[in-house]
């Protein structure tokens, strides 16, 4: 187990290194310079700017410097946002994103589990069809369409929650809801499939034969066993929420990392784009690792091996 985790950590570092390198060279290929949208800089001024940010050195030197700095946790300095270090730019915007993301994750997975379970218990009748339809709609409707609709009806027309901004907790409700729907739908679909499987297994028959009530059978034997595989979709759900946040944060003007990422793209702010890409990759990989470890801890039938993907 420990060996496995260490090996995974090793791969994670390797992957991060490759991601960092690829994004670095991609940024160098990017058309436009970070100073092109400021009005009229003279050649001398441009030269000073390039020197200050180390952009006059050959690319391989810039690359080595960048990697060296990364090892010290230095993601460079933002070109656009008042010369802030990228790392502090990210950390200062982490809180709103984390709050909304975790709220969305909790609402989405809990309601999804409930919906999936209800669908599985009522397999093949109208409740099941309704639940299936709800989850298809949830998967299909993009979070930004949903975000705009929520903003229009609930905030603008009915004044139930703030339209935008991040002044108080209430402001986080609508963006969380917009982000939660897709995880909800995915969890519900997955849960339903798993639970239908479990409901067909022998030990459920035994539980019924023992004279347990339907409720006891479901709660004691079915629900717990179907929940275990649901853990595996935590990874994809995280990716979903991370990317969804890019646009939902923009719609609701949340000062989070998603909004920052889009802003940086618009302003050719390479260091911030690179820093955030690495950050996103790191978050995603950590989540996948946690998922795998959790899974093996909860379900003793799963043994983490080094060549996991081979079987």
């Amino acid at each position: 187990m420990l060996k496995y985790i260490l090996k995974r950590l090793g791969y994670m570092i390797l992957t991060l290194f490759i991601v960092a390198s690829i994004t670095f060279f991609m940024m160098k290929l990017m058309p436009g310079t970070p100073f092109s949208n400021q009005d009229k800089l003279s050649a001398a001024q441009l030269k000073i700017m390039n020197e200050q940010y180390g952009l006059n050195k050959p690319i391989w030197q810039q690359y080595l410097i960048y990697l060296g700095n990364l090892l010290h946790g230095d993601f460079g300095t933002s070109f656009q946002f008042s010369n802030q270090p990228v790392l502090s730019l990210i950390t200062s915007r982490l809180k709103p994103s984390l709050l909304i993301g975790s709220q969305a994750m909790i609402i989405g997975s809990l309601l999804g589990i409930l919906l999936g379970a209800v669908a599985a218990i009522n397999k093949n009748n109208w409740i099941d069809s309704l639940a299936t339809f709800v989850s298809i709609v949830g998967i299909s409707v993009p979070s930004f369409v949903l975000g705009v609709l929520l903003q229009f009806f609930i905030a603008f027309k009915w004044h139930m929650f703030p339209i935008a901004g991040f002044d108080n907790w209430q402001a986080s409700v609508l963006p969380s809801l917009a982000l939660a729907v897709s995880p909800l739908a995915q969890t519900a679909r997955f849960m339903r499939t798993e639970m239908v499987d479990v409901l067909n297994s022998d030990y459920i028959e035994l539980s019924k034969a023992k004279g347990n009530t339907r409720w006891q059978t479901v709660v004691k034997h079915t629900l717990r066993n179907s929940l275990i595989p649901v853990i595996t979709i935590l990874g994809p759900l995280t990716a979903n929420i991370l990317t969804g946040s890019l646009v939902v944060e923009n719609i609701f003007s949340i000062p989070g990392i998603g909004e920052q990422f889009v802003k940086s793209i618009m302003t050719n702010d390479y260091p911030t784009i690179m820093g955030l890409t690495i950050f996103y990759a790191l978050m995603f990989m950590v989540m996948l690792l946690i998922t795998d470890i959790l899974y093996s801890l909860i379900d003793p039938r799963i043994r983490l091996t080094n060549d996991k993907e081979e079987n």
Binding site: Y11, M12, T15, I18, V19, T23, M26, M27, L29, M30, P31, I136, V137, I139, S140, V141, P142, F144, V145, V148, L149, Q151, F152, F156, A239, L242, T243, L246, V247, N250, I251, V262, I265, M266, I273, T277, Y280, A281, F284, M285, L288, E309
Partner: protein, 339 residues
Amino acid sequence: MEDVKITANSFEKVQADQTADQEKISAPSLTFFQDAVRRLRKNKIAVISFFTLIIIAVIAFASPILAPRDPNAQNPDYANLPPRIANTNIPGFRGEIKNAAGIVTNPYETNNVPKDRTYILGTDYLGRDLFSRVLYGTRLSLIIAVIATLVDLLIGLPYGIISGWKGGKVDTFMQRIIEIISSVPNLIVVILLLLVLKPGLSSIIIAIAFSSWVTMARLIRAQTLQLKEQEYVLASLTLGESPFKIAMKHLIPNLSSTIIIQTMFSIPSAIFFEAFLSFIGIGIPAPNASLGTLLSDGQKAFRFLPYQMWYPALILCILMIAFNLFADGLRDAFDPKSE
């Protein structure tokens, strides 16, 4: 009690060919595909989704004929007009708009628009006809999604087959590459690619295809691993068939159901990617309309001119739902074990 008399007449002669009739297989023998289509046709939801998609696609591709105006022609005099259908009184199509205070105005009258000039879905902030733009936009979104999915298939299929077929070190190496790509959320990969490539249609297609072939390659590889253990592949190898021919003759036909199902799931995700990219402003360059750019334009004025967003959003949702439902139906039809 009466005696039952059994005479020769009580018996009936069995015709010789009657037994042969019983032995006959009454149902026509179906190929795998015919059988799948038969199952698919029983699935009402899938059939409805299929025809919805066909109707939307036909209308979208007929947009050069159907569109009443040039989708990119600007007309500042007639900007932000709400939907109106001439000589009717359908709510929402009267050319009226309610502002935040609840006062209803008719911009057609205030702007002195001629009586016979109507915009079915209104106009946007540059006075462009939204109905034409929605038609052309749907067409563009569909074209992007379908081509991106085909490119994704073109990369993913050979990649998966080679990886699964070669096995060993080649496989491990190819799988590592896949792992690295998939360790960054898909959308981030698309955005980074789009930043590097020149803005335009082909870049969007490449970026979307590049990030979605991974799933296809994974599925194909897993199936190839199973298929290459089959006896007929061994027989073919023994007879000296080249790996390329085996792939074409034995692997791809057996992979076809996986390919079809995964393709149907890739199209809606490509539609989503395009809409997303255009929505945050790095997708289709202006002035072209796609569902994403229409949504993005509509969202800016959504509070006061909500009609500009309704219709693109509606079409996008219907497309996504129909594709997903149809793909679901296809999966059940091709893989009866799944349900």
